[in-house]
């Protein structure tokens, strides 16, 4: 039943891929090889394979998650194909790897709640990945986010995000009642005993450390944001996010003083127009691209995204700035559709959290949902100049192996949670 619905939900993905690839090819046939159209077929094939796997291994799983992420990924690969067909081939390969991990999790982690016994391992692994990146990572554009392994650049931060979320789900679930106790009030807000602020301060210190050592705002803010959402869900105490926000403000002021990159990002956000050919170039070009899209966009392949030598006009167009490309070529209509897809994704994830019947599952789903919501907000808000830019990928849409693999891993966990809940309900 659930899987039939899922199959029907794949129809828009198939239609989008056919129309999308065909129009990109039509608009840019001079620069493209007809064989590149096969990436699109392969892409759709991979998702159908994932669907068959779910039929066999997790038949009761949520029927919207996979089609919605497939639509987002389709949007992404269409845009990547338009920017550079070779990158679309690579992205399809990444999708293959990602769905490999996805399948492994669905098959071997069916009883995902066993993870609760290994949360410290997950936590340590998550932190270790960050530490390795800081020590052995290479700097790209000043940020130390990448690890070079056998000729490939991987971004361990993406995996850390999921691993640390698993850790927090188990940890906060076990300490939930303790953390929810209140001993005093301030301005009418019930506050926990001071000694219970320990985990909060540890997470804060760690996030701040990540910022200082990795030289990038994105992972640090994302991690702390996920933590605040989870601790709030676990305790139902507003005090934690409130104190957390205060701590962010302190860290922000301090970071502005000591980190050039933070100062730069903030100053460029306030006024990118003073240096449109250098420091403000990327964001200004992003705004021009977005503005050019108007209501319905220039059409796929018809926007002004590349110089005549094929170089993208906006640096990092296929990764951090992919949303600007979507907004230019598909307009307000297409870009809003992407945002609504993310909203549906979050809705389904939070629904899974609410419906599941144990604390670990609830917190895990909440953490992953909050992670997707915040990551989307940070990067799209950044490219629209709503907030200062933080360099992170747009989940499922941006080009990038690490991001793809880690996010499909998270998706597999969410499908397993919903599969279990629905199975229990059916009993």
């Amino acid at each position: 039943m659930q899987r039939n619905r899922e199959l029907i939900n794949f129809l828009p993905v198939i239609i989008l891929m056919i129309v999308g690839f065909a129009s990109v090819y039509a608009a840019r046939s001079a620069q493209m090889d007809a064989s590149s159209l096969t990436y699109g077929l392969l892409f759709v094939g991979l998702f159908l394979a994932a669907h068959v796997l779910l039929r066999l291994a997790a038949p009761q799983a949520d029927p919207y998650l996979l089609p919605v992420t497939a639509l987002l990924a389709a949007m992404g690969i269409m845009m990547i194909y338009r920017i550079d067909p070779d990158l679309a081939a690579a992205q399809t390969t990444w999708l293959l790897v990602a769905l490999g991990l996805f399948a492994a999790i669905i098959i071997f982690l069916r009883d995902y709640r066993k993870l609760d016994d290994y949360i410290y391992l997950c936590g340590i692994l998550g932190v270790l990945l960050l530490v390795i990146t800081v020590i052995a990572g290479q700097e790209i554009n000043g940020a130390r986010l990448w690890l070079k392994v056998g000729g490939m650049s991987i971004q361990p931060g993406e995996f850390s995000k999921v691993l640390i979320t698993i850790f927090l789900a188990g940890y906060l679930n076990s300490k939930r009642e303790l953390l929810a106790t209140t001993s005093w009030h301030f301005l009418g807000i019930p506050l926990p005993p001071l000694k219970h602020l320990g985990p909060l301060l540890v997470m804060w210190g760690m996030s701040f450390g990540i910022l200082l050592l990795m030289n990038d705002l994105g992972p640090s803010l994302l991690l702390f944001g996920i933590f605040l959402a989870m601790v709030y869900a676990a305790t139902n105490r507003v005090a934690y996010p409130a104190i957390g926000m205060a701590l962010i403000s302190i860290a922000a002021v301090a970071a502005y003083q000591i980190k050039a990159i933070v100062r730069l990002r903030y100053d460029i956000w306030l006024n990118p127009w003073v240096d449109t050919n250098d420091k403000g170039y990327q964001i200004v070009q992003s705004l021009f691209a977005v503005g050019d899209g108007g209501l319905f966009g220039t059409g796929l392949g018809k926007g002004y995204l590349l110089f005549s030598n094929g170089e993208p006009i906006i640096p990092a167009l296929h990764t951090d700035f992919i949303f600007s490309a979507i907004a230019e070529e598909l307009g307000l209509a297409g870009a809003t559709a992407v945002l609504i897809l993310f909203m549906i994704l979050c809705y389904r994830i939070f629904k899974i959290a609410v419906e599941s019947d144990d604390g670990f599952s609830k917190l895990l789903a909440t953490g992953l949902g909050a992670g997707f919501a915040l990551q989307t907000f940070f990067i799209i808000g950044g490219v629209l100049k709503l907030i200062p830019l933080t360099g992170i990928t747009l989940p499922f849409v941006s080009y990038g192996g690490s991001s793809m693999v880690a996010n499909f891993g998270a998706l597999a966990l969410l499908l397993l949670i919903s599969n279990r809940t629905n199975r229990e309900k059916a009993k």
Partner: protein, 477 residues
């Protein structure tokens, strides 16, 4: 746990709604502003597929033309650094400025008048072509003025206007640059403290110094309180007004004199007293009549033309802003935060030469479509009438005296009678900015001119010859 999770979902919905609102703002409300931003090169890129119209000087010399590579038209400027500040550039990376920017719809054939012709061409299978611009610029005069400034090695500007029509014969800003080499020199040009990309002729704001005495004199003569023969005396060479001591330049003649002599000898003390008697309202009234406090209507993009007037902290002050006596007196001889452009001062000279009628300046003589049909022809019109013809005649006589007997002797030539007013504005740490504002021939004026030379000398020995030589070339002498 379900209550806080639901609330977290609502928070994430709020974040998404925020994103959609911002997206809609950028793509709908702000879209036009973003598209019009000169830094936004996507329009230029799209237009590179169009055979862009040529830009020609008055003698049809090519100032801007095209080179076709891979189906795209690249702009080439055969005249190099001759007139880049007026002509501008059109570049997919650096955007558009100058006439290339403001006349873009003609040059690309998207203006309504050109569109119709293009429609027929498209139907008959011809390629879309832009319309050509024929400018009023006389390359000989332009080159002379530029050479004069380059010869003395000074920054500055020269604007020459045809008296009867307002047609701009030359518009020079030095240092200049070669628009063909933008890609190579972009960083250098932007870092250069002498600002070669900046159009000093229309945007350069300079203290007018004594050249502003023309405005004060016009107000004085028309007020009925003063005539050319009004008597003044000044035994000390200085005068105290509102607690502020006004001095004449060293070596200025002392003693009794009339108003015309005060003008030709450029006596600050007398003009301070005249200004004090006329009062702030009268002076401001005349500045407004002369077109101060507004941008002269000109073919260049509006942000490449500055308004003249009193500036306060880099912003044009309101004409109604309060001023004390000392400020009024010092404004009367061209100080007190007055800032004027060379274009504005050339128009001041034009009005005097043209019997009190200030012509609207223009540089595009005609627009010619790809079939050779003139689709737009400039029609000279009066912009302002600051003074009547009698005052214009009196000012002309006084300006002749400046050249023949006064501070403008360095512009004097036996070939033609030049009328002019000089100005010197002190600049801390450097030589003063020197002005020459005038026209020739005095009895039947054909060309009005404004010259400003930065880091100059006080006597007009550097700026005077620039004016004289440029006028002689314009007159073919």
């Amino acid at each position: 746990m379900n209550a806080p999770i639901r609330r977290l979902f609502l928070v994430s919905v709020a974040l998404f709604v925020g994103l959609i609102a911002m997206l809609a703002y950028r793509q709908v409300i702000q879209a036009q502003d973003l598209a019009d931003n000169p830094q936004n090169t996507r329009k230029v890129f799209a237009q590179m597929r169009i055979d862009r119209g040529l830009i020609l000087a008055s003698d049809k010399m090519e100032l801007a033309t095209n080179e076709k590579r891979d189906d795209l038209y690249y702009r080439v400027y055969p005249s190099g650094d001759l007139a880049p500040h007026l002509v501008g550039y059109s570049d997919p990376k650096y955007g558009q400025v100058g006439l290339e920017h403001s006349q873009n719809s003609y040059l690309t054939g998207t203006a309504d008048e050109v569109e119709l012709v293009n429609l027929f061409d498209t139907l008959t299978g011809k390629e879309k072509q832009g319309a050509d611009l024929k400018l009023t610029i006389n390359p000989t005069v332009q080159e002379k003025a530029l050479n004069e400034l380059q010869k003395i090695g000074k920054r500055g500007a020269v604007v020459v206007v045809e008296v009867k029509t307002g047609a701009v014969t030359a518009m020079v800003s030095n240092p200049t640059y070669d628009p063909n080499l933008l890609a190579t020199n972009w960083d250098l040009l932007n870092a250069d403290p002498s600002a070669p990309l900046f159009n000093r002729a229309t945007q350069g704001l300079y203290t007018p110094g004594s050249s502003f005495k023309i405005i004060t004199a016009s107000a004085a003569l028309e007020s009925g309180q003063f005539t050319q023969n009004s008597r003044f005396t000044n035994p000390k060479g200085s005068v105290d007004i509102g607690g502020f001591t006004v001095n004449n330049y060293p070596g200025a003649p002392l003693g009794e004199h009339n108003f015309a002599e005060a003008f030709s000898q450029s006596l600050n003390t007398t003009f301070a007293q005249v200004g004090d008697q006329l009062g702030k309202d009268k002076l401001i009234e005349y500045m407004l009549k002369w077109g101060f406090y507004e941008k002269p209507p000109f073919d260049l993009p509006s942000d490449e033309v500055a308004a003249s007037g009193r500036y306060d902290d880099g912003e044009l002050a309101s004409p109604g802003a309060p001023m004390d006596r000392a400020q009024v007196a010092s404004m009367a001889f061209g100080q007190e935060q007055l800032q004027v452009t060379p274009l504005q001062m050339a128009l001041v000279a034009d009005a005097i030469a043209n019997g009190g009628r200030m012509m609207k300046p223009y540089s595009v003589d005609s627009v010619i479509d790809s079939h050779g049909t003139i689709i737009r022809q400039a029609d000279p019109e009066v912009w302002k009438t600051p003074i009547d013809s009698q005052t214009a005649g009196e000012l002309k006589d006084m300006m002749v005296k400046v050249v023949n007997e006064g501070t403008g002797s360095k512009a004097k030539t036996s070939l033609v009678q030049i009328a002019a007013k000089t100005g010197t504005a002190e600049v801390t740490g450097r030589g003063p900015n020197a002005w020459f504002v005038g026209f020739a021939p005095a009895d039947n004026p054909r060309y009005a001119i404004a010259v400003v030379v930065e880091d100059s000398d006080a006597g007009g020995g550097i700026a005077g010859p620039v004016m004289r030589e440029t006028l002689l070339t314009a007159l073919g002498l």
